[in-house]
């Protein structure tokens, strides 16, 4: 080892240096998203891959793996299958399990190797369904996208296939509907029936946020028809058509909401109740949506949905502009996370800053500029024009270090520089840091959490 590194004299130009992580981790992949969404529904889920995807899902993305059984498997794809093709073996193996275990449904989808092999999952699903008579889905996954892309497809497929008018009527006939009333525009109404969509441990963990969301319905005297999908069975989900309106609490539920809207005309409201004020606003929005049939987003005061659709990564100019903007403001805040959660946090912070929550914090919150960084592929038109869609470590490093406050999973704390002014507020998510910080995941889907956060920022 006597050579002198070329780079010792200076940096080597690296034009193709992209998608690098030196201090952080990537988010749970699309295949994990499918499995997480469907975990509790009694289906047979078989990833077509060698072995790694299932082990990764089971260890780092799925808190239920040890204690709750499921039928999630890996096909055990080998080098020979990859080269010579082994679709018939995959199908036969799935049929064997289906015959033995009688699942409620079957899912087939693949990993990067299956993508390169060009496996026809749609065709395979068709064959399996024909041979078993069991509803069978295929999903477009490749292990190259985040959990968002898997979970949204999975929920949408359930809504599309299982939620029927007959099932909705069955719900109503079964006496679930109560006669309690609420009031809108002076007119007495029956209890509002809602579905809550988009709940998986990847975004909400298993530490109680699911219960907190169920409590939202109780608190506002609403009837919870179905809860997608922690704690409710496939049978229950299939009755979703009986609801009046849907509450979408994470971006993985939006596609299912669209399907339900198409099938049953249900409008949906997007947002998370993270403060007392948001809790009330969301309840009012749900009632109003039921009244006028229009969709709403929590953080749009006029109730209209943002039209901005951002799925392209930002260019250097955008990053640079955002960096300057954050650095120039005394109380700038960057929130990195899943879109609905991050935008709901922004809303509560901005309301607090504007003095709306001054009485709650008993302080004098300053005006602040709050940026959202969405590390997932799709913002569903829920972000602002100056928000940033990226999971690029280098870009996030610049933005986070320019801000006064940085709210993100603890893993992202690794990118803060020693001399930066940034104060870090860890908000763990299983989709990012897996099981490591589970014990530190707060009850953020509850009205009290916002007060804690606001107090921490402006009084910490």
């Amino acid at each position: 080892m006597t050579g002198q590194n070329t780079a010792a004299q200076g940096e080597i130009s690296t034009p193709d240096a992209r998608d690098i992580r030196v201090h952080t981790v990537n988010y749970a992949a699309d295949v994990s998203g499918v499995c997480s969404a469907l975990y509790e529904l009694g289906g047979l889920i078989v990833m077509h891959d060698a072995s790694g995807c299932n082990s990764t899902f089971a260890t780092h993305d799925e808190p239920r793996w040890y204690d709750i059984d499921s039928m999630i498997y890996i096909s055990g794809l080998t080098e020979y299958d990859a080269v010579l093709g082994g679709d018939e073996k995959y199908i036969d193996d799935v049929l064997e399990i289906a015959q033995e275990r009688h699942p409620k449904f079957i899912c087939v989808f693949g990993s990067p190797v299956a993508l390169v092999m060009g496996t026809d999952f749609r065709g395979i699903a068709h064959i399996i369904e024909k041979r078993t008579g069991i509803p069978t889905f295929s999903f477009e996954t490749s292990g190259m996208y985040t959990y968002l892309q898997g979970a949204r497809q999975a929920f949408a497929a359930i809504a599309d296939r299982f939620c029927t008018k007959e099932k909705a009527e069955e719900y109503s006939d079964s006496g679930n509907t109560s006669a309690a009333e609420y009031t809108i525009s002076e007119k007495p109404r029956r209890r509002l029936k809602i579905n809550i969509l988009g709940v998986t441990p990847l975004d909400f963990s298993v530490a109680g946020n699911d219960e907190a969301l169920r409590a939202f319905a109780d608190r506002h005297n609403m009837e919870l028809v179905s809860f997608w999908a922690m704690g409710d069975s496939l049978e229950r989900l299939s009755m979703a058509g009986a609801a009046d309106v849907n509450l979408v609490v994470s971006s993985v539920g939006i596609d299912a909401a669209e399907v339900l809207k198409e099938k049953f005309g249900q409008p949906y409201v997007t947002g998370l109740p993270m403060s007392g004020e948001e809790d009330e606003t969301l309840a009012e929005m749900l009632k109003a949506a039921e009244e006028d049939g229009k969709d709403r987003v929590l953080w749009e005061d006029d109730g209209a949905c943002a039209e901005i659709y951002r799925a392209d990564p930002p260019d250097e100019q955008e990053i640079s502009d955002a960096e300057k903007s954050l650095a120039s403001e005394e109380n700038s805040i960057v929130i990195l996370g899943e879109t609905v959660q991050a935008a709901s946090i922004r809303r509560l912070l901005e309301h607090a800053a504007a003095g709306a929550a001054a009485s709650e914090t008993q302080g004098e919150p300053a005006q602040s500029h709050v940026h959202v960084i969405c590390p997932l592929e799709d913002s569903f038109g829920l972000l602002r024009e100056d928000d940033v869609m990226t999971d690029d470590e280098a870009a996030v490093t610049r933005l986070a270090n320019a801000a006064r406050w940085f709210i993100a999973d603890p893993v992202w704390g690794n990118i803060l520089k020693k001399d930066s002014r940034t104060e870090f507020i860890p908000l763990p998510s299983e989709a990012c840091s897996g099981r490591i910080f589970r014990a530190d995941i707060p009850l953020f889907a509850a009205p009290d959490w916002g007060k804690t956060l606001v107090g921490r920022i402006w009084k910490g």
């Binding site: 780079a7 089971a58 096909s75 055990g76 064997e96 009688h102």
Partner: protein, 535 residues
């Protein structure tokens, strides 16, 4: 330099475990396991939990009926063909079709290969962990998200992110012609960042590509040649994460173990230096192998014990490599070819005859003085006898991840009066086949179960609860058998723990007594990935 989070006002109040850079315990906590357990308790009474229970009950009832019919067939009471066992014989399965009597199985084809389940016993080291044994080596994984997540999360959990970096392969990389340049530029950028942050280049960088690169025909020679030319003072090591290579001539983990020694440069040979090759855990320093060699003036080098890159490089001076399990085989072949080091296969034995044979072979090759076999055997006998006095006829279940040769181990225990009820194994190692055959003769009813067959997922894992209800107890040897049996009484044995020979038998006997007396928190212990791995 990165910010020390503890100096930060907010982070100072945060718990110690937010620290992710180097050293300390792994970050999976008992609280995490407990929270998951509490959710599961709540879930059981939920709508989904009740629906699952009812679905499984219907399935169990149907399978029970089928099993009874199968048993009748095998006994010749119904029809005339019986049921075809996993070994192709007419037989009746036990718990389900993934569990048979040993005498009904064929050791060369234990269970059919098919759809797999991954049990949550994670103590074994993966290919992301073992390169960390090379002091100062940095890993760069180049993979799609799905594969990457598993390895980078492993690194995060053992606080190894400061030596572990990733480059994500995106779908456009597969067709835009930048597969190679992305690796070259990405790794260059990572190395430059390491130098900026740490003030020096790393000694070695292992760049690991994934199965997708092999399928896409990555020009590996060009990539690694270019990186070596850019950084001639760094040992650039090739790595493969090709999980499809599980049934291939070479298992991908064998390839990984070969690469863990690939940075060794030729050195002058020391006839009195011996390497132990291919194990995540150091070979027991009290074992007969180490004791024999050290007493005869040899230096015994073992990768898990290397603390500096120079110590690692000194392994190149050894004249003999000893490998104790199959993962070391390919590494020893390569080292013989590259560095001219002789090799000796000494698979972790559990029978006295095999121990004597192996140690005699070592003596003949090195001239190291043989120990007093009779005295060692006597001591092992005493230890086993003590263990038997405590454990009595408690059912023992063991697995093929705990011991490399589980059938030899079962034979040893059965011969000493222990009640071995079940062995979990997906295959039988060639070195274990004789023991398998002997057991099939002597204990034909011994139960053998698969570990990763899909049926294991829904099989009842509360054998221990049943046993306790009947006033009994199950003692497991190994994490997987602990999980499958549902017992808290288990020996945390992984890949022999480096326990070898008579000393290994003594250590196991002591550990069994300890495990029998003191229950462990299985969910917390066995879910930790790569037991003992630190950055």
């Amino acid at each position: 330099m990165l910010k020390n989070l503890h100096e930060n006002k907010i982070m100072r109040q945060a718990p110690e475990h937010y620290r992710m850079e180097g050293g300390g315990e792994q970050m999976f906590s008992s609280e995490s396991a407990q929270i998951a357990r509490k959710y599961a308790e709540r879930w059981k009474t939920s709508d989904a939990g009740r629906a699952w229970k009812s679905q499984q009950a219907a399935c169990t009832s149907r399978l029970k009926k089928e099993k009874e019919e199968t048993a009748d067939c095998a006994a010749g009471n119904v029809g005339n063909s019986g049921n075809t066992g996993a070994g192709g014989k007419s037989a009746a399965y036990l718990e389900d079709k993934a569990e048979w009597r040993i005498s009904d199985l064929d050791s060369e084809h234990l269970f059919p290969v098919g759809i797999e389940y991954t049990p949550p016993a994670r103590g074994t080291w993966t290919i992301a962990h073992t390169p960390m044994l090379v002091p100062g080596l940095h890993e760069v994984y180049v993979c799609p998200d799905g594969c990457l997540r598993g390895v980078v999360m492993s690194a995060e959990e053992f606080r190894g992110l400061d030596r572990f970096h990733v480059i994500e392969v995106r779908e456009p990389d597969l067709y835009n012609g930048t597969l190679e340049t992305k690796i070259i530029d990405g790794v260059t950028s990572v190395i430059q960042q390491i130098r900026r942050e740490k003030g020096a280049f790393p000694s070695a960088v292992m760049v690991t590509t994934s199965c997708i690169h092999d399928l896409m025909g990555l020009d590996r020679n060009m990539v690694y040649r270019e990186l070596s030319e850019r950084f001639p003072s760094i040992d650039i090591v090739q790595g493969w994460m090709n999980c499809t290579m599980r049934m291939s001539t070479l298992h991908y983990e064998q390839v990984q173990w070969r690469q863990n020694y690939a940075a060794l440069h030729p050195r002058e040979k020391d006839p009195k230096s011996v390497n132990i090759i291919g194990s995540s855990f150091p070979l027991d320093r009290d074992s007969e192998i180490v004791q024999m060699l050290e007493k005869s003036g040899f230096t015994v080098r073992d990768l898990p014990l290397c603390r500096t890159y120079e110590e690692y490089q000194n392994m190149a001076s050894s004249s003999l490599n000893i490998w104790n399990w199959v993962m070391g085989m390919e590494a020893c072949r390569d080292l013989k070819e590259r560095l001219g080091q002789k090799q000796l296969h000494m698979p972790y034995p559990w029978t006295y005859g095999e121990i004597r044979r192996q140690l005699t072979g070592l003596h003949e090759l090195t001239g190291a003085e043989l120990p007093d076999f009779d005295a060692l055997e006597q001591k092992a006998e005493e230890k086993l006898s003590q263990a038997h006095e405590v454990i009595g006829d408690t059912e023992i279940q063991l697995d093929g991840v705990a011991a490399m040769l589980p059938f030899q181990l079962a034979e040893l225990l059965l011969r000493h009066g222990f009640h071995v009820g079940k062995i979990y194994a997906d295959a039988v190692m060639p070195e274990d086949r004789d023991a398998f055959s002997r057991l099939a003769e002597s204990h034909p009813d011994l139960s053998v179960s698969a570990m990763i067959n899909f049926r294991l997922r829904t099989r009842k894992c509360d054998g221990e609860a049943d046993a306790e209800a009947g006033g009994r107890r199950i003692l497991a040897v190994g994490q997987r058998s602990a999980y499958f049996s549902g017992t808290s009484y288990f020996v945390d044995l992984i890949q022999n723990n480096g326990w070898y020979g008579y000393t290994g038998i003594c250590r196991l006997a002591d550990a069994m007594i300890d495990a029998y007396r003191k229950p462990k928190d299985a969910p917390e212990m066995i879910q930790i990935k790569a037991r003992g791995c630190t950055a």
